[in-house]
């Protein structure tokens, strides 16, 4: 029960800040009821204005416990791995990143960092993705993890089946909160690259996963890395030629998918590409290992139109 107390406190604090103290008790209690519901919340926001999509997402995050209490530093994992433009859909859209940083800073987070271990050269990929300029504008550090070899820290993954240890960027360990903001796209090797796959950009040795068992490693690492929130950019999705593209077929679902459960978020996002989430092996493994919810009947899916 202590977890609930902390949560309600933090949401109360958030609302005092915006001058809605009166409703705090009501909301806090409704949250406890929601938590007793075994179903996992997944919010699916639809709209064409990326700024407003993210603002709505942040409102929902505010209503649902923010990033925990007293969060001063936040590490944001975007996907800026490829030297592709925002329209091509290989990286997270910079407009979403921009709105997110502005929103959380307004909400009291002092420092947002964007560490990334890119596939292409960081200088080129960060710039072409459009995320570097957004980070600079908001005075956030975008960190090329290739140049920070010393900051990788070995961690144990006790629940992992094949991946028992990993070297993880300390930038994601030494912060108050971690948020995963991937783009949803086709991926030749992993079938789909969304949230769980995005963690490959915070580890040192991606080659090890490739030669071990890519799908199992992705599932295994998700037992260790659990972000406060997963926000999936499904505003435009590459249906083929992933992860780099450019795709022959680009779908424009105009969606932002939000959940605290990264597996549920991935499973919902997979519906854009496949009839069933079980088409993605690492999602199947994740369900078997009990990392999160894959079956949509176990989710509370809130569809929200952001006009």
């Amino acid at each position: 029960m202590s977890r609930h107390t902390v949560k309600s406190k933090s949401s109360r604090r958030g609302f005092v800040k915006i001058g809605m103290a009166g409703t705090a008790t009501v909301l806090a209690s409704s949250e406890i009821i929601a938590d007793n519901d075994p179903k996992v919340d997944v919010w699916v926001l639809h709209g064409t204005d990326k700024q407003r999509l993210m603002q709505k997402a942040l409102e929902l995050i505010q209503e649902n416990g923010w990033f925990g209490s007293n969060v001063k530093t936040l590490a944001l994992k975007v996907n800026a791995a490829w030297s592709r433009t925002p329209e091509e859909g290989a990286n997270t859209h910079p407009d979403l990143v921009d709105a997110f940083i502005k929103g959380v800073k307004k909400g009291g987070v002092k420092e947002v960092i964007l560490p990334e271990h890119p596939c292409n050269n960081a200088k080129i990929a960060f710039e072409r993705s459009g995320i570097k300029s957004v980070a600079d504008e908001n005075k956030c550090k975008m960190i090329d993890l290739k140049t920070r070899q010393k900051s990788f820290r070995e961690v144990q993954i006790p629940l992992g089946k094949k991946l028992k240890t990993a070297e993880v960027a300390a930038e994601f360990i030494d912060v108050d909160a971690v948020v995963n903001m991937p783009v949803a796209k086709h991926h030749e090797g992993a079938t789909l690259s969304i949230a769980m796959k995005n963690w490959m950009g915070i580890i040192k040795d991606r080659r090890h996963w490739h030669r071990t068992d890519l799908h199992q490693c992705i599932a295994d690492f998700s037992t260790f890395m659990k972000p406060s929130w997963t926000i999936i950019d499904a505003t435009r999705c590459m249906l083929d030629s992933g992860p780099q593209g450019p795709a022959n077929e680009l779908k424009i679902p105009d969606l932002l998918i939000l959940s605290k459960d990264q597996v549920a978020a991935d499973a919902y996002a997979s519906s854009i590409f496949h009839e069933t989430p079980y088409a993605v092996k690492y999602l199947k493994y994740a369900e078997e290992m009990g990392i999160g919810v894959v079956d949509s009947s176990q989710m509370n899916i809130h569809k929200i139109e952001v006009g």
Binding site: N120, N121, H208, H210, P243, Q244
Partner: protein, 414 residues
């Protein structure tokens, strides 16, 4: 105007101030840091010797009008003032003047070889292989750039070892480089219109003949013998066009190494004298060492056109090598793992998947589409039986056509 010795004293002080300032400025441009890429080009581009001999070797004036200005400036200055360039501007000259005061001043090396070296360069260039062009002082000092951030390449100091060696010699006999060896110094000195005595003309004739009789046969001999064998060709940067062209015009200033963002460009360790220490691409150097699709940095800094400046679109179609999968080493073909890292990293969609009967994706490289950028070789996670990507360098680069891009691979029968 007062005491002439007083004036002279002042002049010397001003001269040293200017020289130190220009040396500092040159080092700043060479080491770069936050400067734009083209800064790496300015110092080597000042030398008329490199630009002229590259033009002679290729029978084609490559360098653009704007980038010819520095060299023509030096040429014009020399017509008027002769060795003024050496005494006031040349950063290497300043560097070699530093030990003058504390030197032993012993004249153990009395010969003046600069004329022979100069004509040797010109005549060997005329044959198509400027053998000792790397002696050019401005390329020599530009080599310091590889010590700066980004490249960290100790091998570049093999031709760069010239600087410490000459500095040591200068401690014994000051001026040994500038007055007796430097081919550029000879050129700017001889260009001065006003100072030609018949004796000098005779000396010049002798130097010219010596250069001709040494340079032409040696260049001809090495051009055909001291080349890389077919199985150890280097992978050259995309603007290099072909090995002959590259070897005949590269001055080893390493401006390209300096600006390469991935560090894939390095100094060649193998090969004959004709290709001694030329830049090459090595995809096994470190994580991320491959030629980036959206980069043409090295193409824009080459002072001689050894690496020609192509547009980014043309550069992306320039085929420098061909990759192929070694199936026996491949995790997909041999171990039935869902790896596909090579395909992920291919920016040109040149890798196709063969699913076969078991549905495990197995890579096949479309050799017509492949540019040889080496991304697949660099990322290949296979270790047990070696890297599963083989790179075959091209002697003469070519353009990948749109037809090539539309082509597909032949899948094996299953």
């Amino acid at each position: 105007m007062g005491d002439p010795s007083f004036n002279k004293k002042h002049l010397r002080k001003i001269q040293w101030g200017v020289r130190w300032f220009l040396l500092g400025a040159a080092l700043f441009l060479i080491i770069g840091g936050p400067l734009p890429e083209y800064a790496a080009r300015i110092i080597p581009a000042l030398s008329p010797l490199t630009i002229v001999s590259a033009a002679v070797a290729r029978r084609f004036w490559y360098v653009s009008l704007v980038w010819s200005i520095p060299a023509f400036f030096v040429l014009g200055l020399s017509l008027w003032k002769g060795r003024f360039f050496c005494r006031w501007i040349c950063p290497l000259g300043t560097l070699y003047s530093i030990p003058r005061k504390g030197s032993l001043k012993r004249r153990f090396f009395p010969w003046k070889l600069n004329g022979i070296l100069f004509w040797f360069i010109i005549f060997s260039s005329a044959v198509g292989l400027p053998l000792i062009l790397f002696l050019d002082p401005l390329s020599t000092i530009a080599r310091i750039g590889v010590l700066g951030p980004g490249s960290r390449n100790p091998l570049a100091w093999i031709p760069g070892a010239l600087i410490p060696l000459i500095l040591l010699l200068c401690l014994v006999q000051p001026g040994i480089w500038c007055e007796q060896l430097c081919p550029l110094g000879y050129l700017v000195g001889k260009l001065k219109l006003k100072s030609r005595t018949p004796r000098q003309v005779n000396q010049m004739r002798r130097d010219l003949i010596a250069g001709l009789f040494l340079g032409v046969p040696l260049a001809l001999l090495l051009k055909n013998t001291a080349r890389a064998r077919k199985n150890e060709l280097p992978v050259l940067p995309p603007g290099a066009l072909d090995l002959d062209h590259f070897a005949s015009t590269c001055v080893r200033c390493y401006a390209c190494l300096k600006v390469c963002p991935t560090g894939v460009l390095t100094v060649r360790k193998k090969g004959g004298v004709a290709e001694l220490c030329i830049p090459e691409l090595d995809f096994d150097r470190h994580d991320g060492a491959y030629c980036e699709q959206y980069c043409h940095a090295c193409l824009r800094v080459c002072p001689t056109g050894a690496i020609q400046s192509l547009s980014i679109e043309r550069k992306q179609r320039q085929k420098i090598a061909t990759a192929s999968i070694v199936r026996e080493a491949c995790l997909g073909w041999e171990d039935h793992l869902e790896c596909v890292a090579c395909d992920e990293f291919c920016g040109y969609k040149a890798i196709e998947m063969h699913l076969g009967t078991n549905g495990i994706p197995k890579p096949i490289i479309n050799q017509r589409k492949c540019r040889g950028c080496g991304a697949c070789r660099n990322i290949c996670p296979a270790t047990r039986r070696g890297n599963a990507v083989k790179i075959e360098p091209l002697y003469t680069h070519k353009q990948v056509t749109e037809d090539d891009d539309r082509s597909a691979v032949q899948h094996p029968e299953t």
